[in-house]
Structure formats: C-alpha cells, structure tokens
C-alpha cells in the first residue's frame, strides 16, 4: 500500500520529520506543510537528508512557502510544489494518509 506522509513541524525544532523519513517507504510520498516547509529549502542541514531519500516523492505546500516569504526557487530540486487541490489529490491517490503530528 502507498502512504502520503504529512509533516507540519520545522525539522530544526522537532524530530517529526526525522521520524517520518525513517518510516517513509519507497514509492510513498511526503508532504511538507506549515512550519515543515523549512525542511524543503536548499543549502540547509536537512536538505541532504531529503536528497538521500531515493524512491520517495517529496512535496511542499506552496501557500505555506509563500506565507513565510520563501520563494519557490529556494526549494530543493525534485521537491514538487503543490497547492491545496493537489494536496487533496495526493491524499486520494495514496491508500492512506499518515500525519506525523
């Protein structure tokens, strides 16, 4: 089964993104939103962790990037930028959603 993992905490403050990455299987998807968008930015200490996760699809919520003043060109290559409608699509396309709250 495929899972959409959602993370909403800054990886610099909380460990939920680390926990999520430890559980995300090949073929699953990870959506970073709310404060977790800081985990999608190039040149940070966590960017390498994201890059090392082969076979996992990463997404970041555009409206939360924009709200926080992070421009889309700062996002790590390969992370898809989605809106709420695409968040819904991801939730529907995967068999279930796991929230790393």
């Amino acid at each position: 089964m495929t899972t959409l993992h959602t993370v909403n905490k800054s990886p610099f403050e909380k460990s939920s993104m680390d926990s999520c990455l430890a559980y995300a299987k090949q073929g699953s998807s990870v959506l970073l939103y709310e404060d977790a968008i800081y985990g999608a930015i190039k040149g940070t200490a966590v960017a390498d962790k994201v890059a090392a996760m082969g076979g996992v699809n990463f997404y970041v919520l555009g409206p939360d990037l924009k709200a926080r003043g992070v421009s889309e060109d700062k996002v790590v290559d390969g992370i898809g930028i989605v809106d709420y409608a695409e968040f819904v699509t991801l939730a529907a396309e995967n068999d279930k959603v796991q929230a790393w709250v």
Binding site: T3, S15, S19, A22, Y23, K96, A99, V101
Partner: protein
C-alpha cells in the same frame, strides 16, 4: 454500521503529562475497542514514555492514567507495538516498561504479553498494512 473490518492503528509519539495527547488518545483506543475492528497500537519516539513503570503523579496533582493501559487486555486491545530504536535512543529496555498482558480466550485464558518489541523496519511494514492511521 459498516460490516467490514479495517486495520486500525493508533500511533502514540508523545510523552504523558506534558500534554494531554497521551491520555486523550488512550480514551479513543478504549472507545474504539467497542467497534470490533482489527486494532493495533504503536508506541514510538516519546510515546514509549507512556508505558514507563512507576509513574506517580501525586505531587503534581494530575490523574495517573498509567494503570489504564493495563485494562487494554480486558478491552481486547492486545497488539501493542513498542519500537526498539525509540527505547534504545532513550536508554530504556522492555524491563523499564509496565508489563501489559491479556488473557487469550482461544487458548484457555492463558496470560500472554500484549507488548511486542519491534524494530523500526518491522513496524514500518505493519504500518504499511494498515487501512487507517490515527495520530494524536
């Protein structure tokens, strides 16, 4: 109500008392037990602290709900997974946790352990098989 049986997993990642999440999540598990689904409860990250022995809240005047985990067997909630890595990272072993058991109706009421120690990889496989994941 729907006749289908789903695989339910309640995921506990928080320590008790600092916030109410652990207790209110246990309340859902107890209520959910009446719905005859295939229930699984996972304790990972700080969630393993919920099962620590010797909790005594008398000096902070909060309700000590740790004994309630021991009632889970009566509620037929018998698949409790504790993640090995989370214990190790916190310098804990199974010995530090409350023993939780159930009586197996299909095996002449033999007392069995409810807690199953799982590696992160094993638990990830079990999580993958679930239909519904409740997070608190």
């Amino acid at each position: 109500m729907s006749e289908q049986i789903k695989k339910f997993m309640y995921i506990n990642r928080r320590a008790p008392y600092g916030t109410i999440y652990a207790w209110e999540s246990l309340e859902v598990v107890l209520i959910g037990a009446a719905f005859d689904q295939d229930v699984h409860v996972a304790f990972i990250d700080d969630g393993v602290y919920q099962l620590l022995k010797g909790q005594d809240t008398s000096a902070v005047d909060m309700k000590n709900f740790s004994p309630t985990y021991q009632a889970l067997g009566d509620y037929d909630v018998t698949k409790l997974y504790v993640e090995k890595e989370s214990l190790e990272e916190r310098g804990l072993t199974l010995e530090d946790l409350m023993p939780l058991t159930y009586e197996d109706e299909d095996d002449d009421w033999a007392e069995k352990d409810s807690i199953r120690l799982m590696s992160r990889a094993e638990l990830a496989d079990i999580m993958d098989e679930q239909d519904i994941l409740f997070s608190f």
